[in-house]
């Protein structure tokens, strides 16, 4: 392949030389032949380098496009993941809303029950603490406070 390109380049160069105006013979035949060979080799090198750069650029472009395509694919996949995560979170939030609504319903029912049991307002009351020790118990007994609920009627 490489030799084919060289031959083609040389052919093109020779054809171009035939189209060029014939210079006056200022040198001998050997020098003229040498100049022709040097020019042909230079043109060949230029063409080869040009092809090389073109393909390198194509490869770079392809790599860039591949990278861009990969990034695009990744972004698309990430977007899909984000969407899925959002949908899951939306479901969780919906469940939490239902749970809160259910708890509020239960609270309302319990409040209604308490209100029905407490028409006079003091049947049930929180007795914040009741001490274990009393006036008739030994002083050495440690006082322990326990949360109590008071049920009954009347005030003290």
């Amino acid at each position: 392949m490489k030799s084919f390109k060289i031959i083609a380049a040389l052919t093109l160069a020779a054809f171009a030389l035939t189209l060029a105006p014939t210079p006056q013979a200022l040198a001998d035949g050997a020098a003229s032949t040498r100049n022709i060979l040097i020019g042909t080799a230079a043109a060949t090198l230029i063409i080869i380098n040009h092809n090389k750069k073109v393909h390198q650029r194509y490869a770079e472009d392809a790599q860039k496009q591949a990278a861009l395509a990969e990034q695009a694919n990744n972004a698309k996949a990430a977007a899909a993941q984000y969407k899925t995560a959002y949908e899951h979170e939306a479901v969780v939030a919906s469940n939490l809303k239902r749970e809160v609504a259910l708890q509020q319903t239960q609270i309302n029912q319990l409040n209604a029950q308490v209100a029905s049991l407490n028409p006079s307002g003091n049947f049930v009351s929180a007795n914040s603490a009741s001490t274990a020790t009393t006036s008739k118990q030994p002083v050495s007994a440690k006082s322990v406070q326990v949360a109590m609920v008071s049920y009954g009627w009347g005030s003290f």
Binding site: L117, S130, A147, V149, F156
Partner: protein
């Protein structure tokens, strides 16, 4: 003369002590009767010694609620007075049940009718009662 004075003083002291013991016994018996009636979900027995104002506040459902709370603490075994404020006719008792205790508070009128009656139970099942918490020793 001295002997006679001593006898009078001794008799008076015995009378005072007897009256005092009778008072405690009466209040304890009244509180015990009411508490047993409440424990047995007996509405008529509960309000039997209540004054008219208090009778108007009591419902059968409320008696049932307290009965349930007491049953959650086990079998009722009686109560003992733990605090008294005679000036205000307020008394506090500790009701013993097989699985815990409850505090019973009562205020009475001069004629013996009950002006206020309350039962204090632990806020939640499983919480230590005042007596059990006090008797529990740290390990």
């Amino acid at each position: 003369m001295n002997l006679r004075a001593a006898l009078v003083c001794a008799t008076a002291a015995l009378l005072i002590a007897g009256c005092s013991g009778q008072r405690v016994a009466d209040e304890t018996k009244i509180a015990d009767d009411v508490t047993r009636a409440v424990y047995n979900n007996d509405y008529a027995g509960t309000v039997k010694n209540f004054d008219d104002t208090l009778k108007g506040q009591v419902t059968r459902g409320q008696v049932g609620v307290i009965s349930d709370k007491l049953h959650a603490l086990g079998d009722y075994q009686g109560l003992t007075e733990v605090k008294s404020e005679p000036d205000y006719r307020r008394y506090t008792f500790e009701a013993k049940l097989t699985n815990g205790t409850a505090m019973v508070r009562m205020r009475v009128h001069a004629d013996g009718s009950i002006a206020a009656y309350r039962v204090d139970v632990p806020a939640a099942t499983g919480l230590p009662t005042p007596a059990s918490a006090a008797s529990a020793k740290p390990k």
